[in-house]
Symmetry: C2
Subunit: 428 residues, 2 copies
């Protein structure tokens, strides 16, 4: 047995306490699996007195995470505070400068500063591992970095925000609208402090950007992710999609094309009987496609104390075993600047428009689509009130440019009320 | 950059040529991801002259895999010959004795001799890695050894023989019987040289035993796997199962209980709309359950040149990166001897019996079940010929002992023709 591996844990929320629990309760198992003891030397959190249901006896306490990160008696700084700036960033930088390895669940920090942090760590021979930052308990960072490392990755897809998937699933199940379910999530504590991180697709976009960096050997470029949240999705859309054999998911897709790196996180229609379509509630799913392996699908809990702590511990165990991997699967200094490319591959689209109930309105919409070169697979006008009529269109495969031309032309018809909704139909 | 990692590859079938192709075509990618060049020094196979569609120029040739395994110019012996004895075993042992690391796709070798080989390797500081031996391209060995290493694993389940799943899927799709599809598989080259390895569940049983060793920290005990193949499954069973909302899968389950280690590989009914139920053709699925993470599901191609070569390369890359893991996730010398336990947890069962068409026959069957303490959920007699009548029973949850009592009592009724079929219904 070598010396114990000593952890300093900053952040004792649901994930932090989960990690403490595993370290306390599984000492023998961890020692057998790593060949050394794993210990907690010190912890830090906002409130020292809060009852977290887990004993902190024997651990030094630091009010300041930076002080924690630089203590002589820790080998690994475990950052579970969250936030791309402020204490999380300061403490992570301080830990690296003080010669510590870092394990983090902080997707925002890495999505925005991962390149700089990885270079800093690697220049000094330290490691940053972040399994818990993407898709909770699913070991997808390791699957991509290690399991599929012999592949040229062609595409990474995933449903990676449990809260959005919960809202969309419950809309269909309960017939409640988006706003009611948003409120329910707020009350259940499912939402980030800034809810837009969840429902705006930002949190999921962070995760996608991290996976894309590993998959394609590119610098993390969260800024280039085309982001669209689920706030526009109505109960009508959910029901119409179901009638057509689809479900709506907040789906991330990253792929390298001849034009550059496409990254998008947006609502999509997926076949209801596909693995993605069947994903319920807070469960996450990631689809990895490589030239040798074909398609691998990983499914599991995307959040929660146990699953996320499991992911944190997998990184701690990796370090305890002496495995020292680069942050993004190859040296950060060699990651290329990706050319951002708009996701333009032709796809069928679902369109919902609200037309003023005038003679010829439908014909005008059809004419706009025809002029844009978009051919219609199915079109129907549904129940309408006295003033407007909802119209649904499912197009045949169409280019993004053609779709945009049509969307721009609709207002000039004078019959389209409100902003039309266009949702890509993803065939998986 | 450190020195190149030099491979010696024994076996140039579909997997071996896949590995050669990746090493030749992805030199830059592999070097970026590992920090060193990966090269092939020498190869060995049965026929030197066979055209394999891939260039072997620049590689030394050995007729004898043992000679290959001990060459001075290789660091890693890549064993892709297969077979638990003979050249594969001899060459693997020779490689370890000569100071080489070993990467193997050989589940039979490890299922039967894994303990001895792992101890031998670890005593000398060498590694044996076997990602390709289980579930083809799915990185499940790494998921269990690394990704879920912070968990007490409670259960491992999986559909891990593509040929069996292909036969069962095609029976439902085409209405062809088992024998016809067995012949089709033989002609398509989907069967092992000894087909019983596939259809008898042995190959899948090997894989299950390997996962169980990692999951539970126990010595590989393939001999204790309760094995049942798919040869008894009739088209009737497939159709009846479908009518009841189920599909039949050759399912492996390993779990640690208070009584010991349960391992079984047998046909089961699973809900048709569950992820396992929806698994088509040669695709594999592994379900891993841990106390912290909950349930993780991995799906992907279970065989084939590209997927299996992808798994082999993940091990090669791991070694090239300097990661040195124990074979089964903890030192082999410390793995415990598991107490084999029969899988006795109560479950509902599907029973198919053929009764002689006499008055009172059905009553006699019902009486046997009642006396065994088995309560009936559904029972029906289906279309019958002039002499016998097929009867289907779905039981409520019943213990394995009760089921066995009933199966033993049926012959004495004088009305049960043929051996009854009993298939466990697995709720997943």
């Amino acid at each position: 047995m070598t010396d114990p591996l000593r952890l300093g844990i900053a952040g004792l929320g649901t994930v932090g306490t989960g990690v403490v629990r595993i370290v306390r309760q599984k000492a023998n198992l961890l020692a057998r699996r790593t060949g050394r003891a794993i210990e907690i030397s010190a912890v830090s959190a906002r409130s020292r007195t809060k009852d977290r249901g887990v004993s902190l006896s024997g651990y030094a306490w630091e009010d300041d995470p930076v002080a924690l990160a630089t203590r002589d008696d820790i080998d690994v700084f475990v950052e579970l505070m969250g936030g791309s700036e402020g204490p999380a960033r300061a403490a992570t930088e301080a830990a690296l400068d003080a010669g510590k390895d870092v394990v983090t669940a902080n997707k925002a920090l890495l999505a925005l500063h991962g390149q700089e942090l990885a270079e800093r760590a690697e220049a000094m021979g330290h490691v940053i591992r972040f399994e818990a930052a993407v898709a909770g308990g699913i070991p997808v960072v390791k699957a991509l970095t290690e399991g599929l490392a012999g592949n040229e990755i062609s595409r990474v897809m995933g449903v990676m925000n449990g809260t959005c998937n919960y809202i969309l699933t419950r809309m269909e199940e309960t017939g409640q609208g988006y706003n009611a379910l948003f409120e329910e999530c707020a009350q259940l504590g499912y939402l980030e402090a800034d809810p837009n991180l969840d429902v705006g697709g930002i949190d999921a976009g962070h995760k996608l950007a991290l996976l894309a960096a590993i998959a394609f050997g590119t610098r993390v470029s969260f800024g280039a992710v085309e982001l669209e949240g689920i706030q526009q999705i109505s109960l009508d859309d959910i029901h119409h999609a179901a009638d057509l054999g689809f479900r709506i998911k907040l789906l991330g897709v990253a792929q390298m094309t001849g034009r550059g790196l496409e990254q998008r996180m947006s609502p999509c229609l997926v076949p209801a009987d596909s693995p993605l379509g069947q994903l319920q509630g807070g469960t996450n799913m990631v689809v990895l496609e490589g030239d040798s392996v074909g398609q691998i699908v990983l499914r599991g809990p995307g959040a929660g104390s146990g699953p996320t702590a499991s992911a944190v511990m997998s990184d701690v165990i990796e370090i305890a075993r002496g495995t020292r991997l680069t942050t993004f699967g190859q040296p950060a200094a060699g990651l290329i600047h990706p050319t951002p490319a708009r996701a333009t591959a032709p796809a069928p689209y679902y369109l919902r428009l609200r037309l003023s109930d005038k003679p010829g309105a439908l014909a005008k919409v059809a004419a706009v689509l025809g002029e844009a070169g978009i051919s219609i697979d199915r079109m129907r006008q549904t129940r309408h009130d006295e003033i407007t009529a909802p119209v649904l269109v499912v197009t045949h495969k169409t280019s993004r440019d053609a779709l945009d031309r049509a969307l721009e032309a609709f207002p000039a018809t004078g019959v389209v009320v409100d902003e039309p909704i266009a949702i890509r139909i993803e065939s998986i």
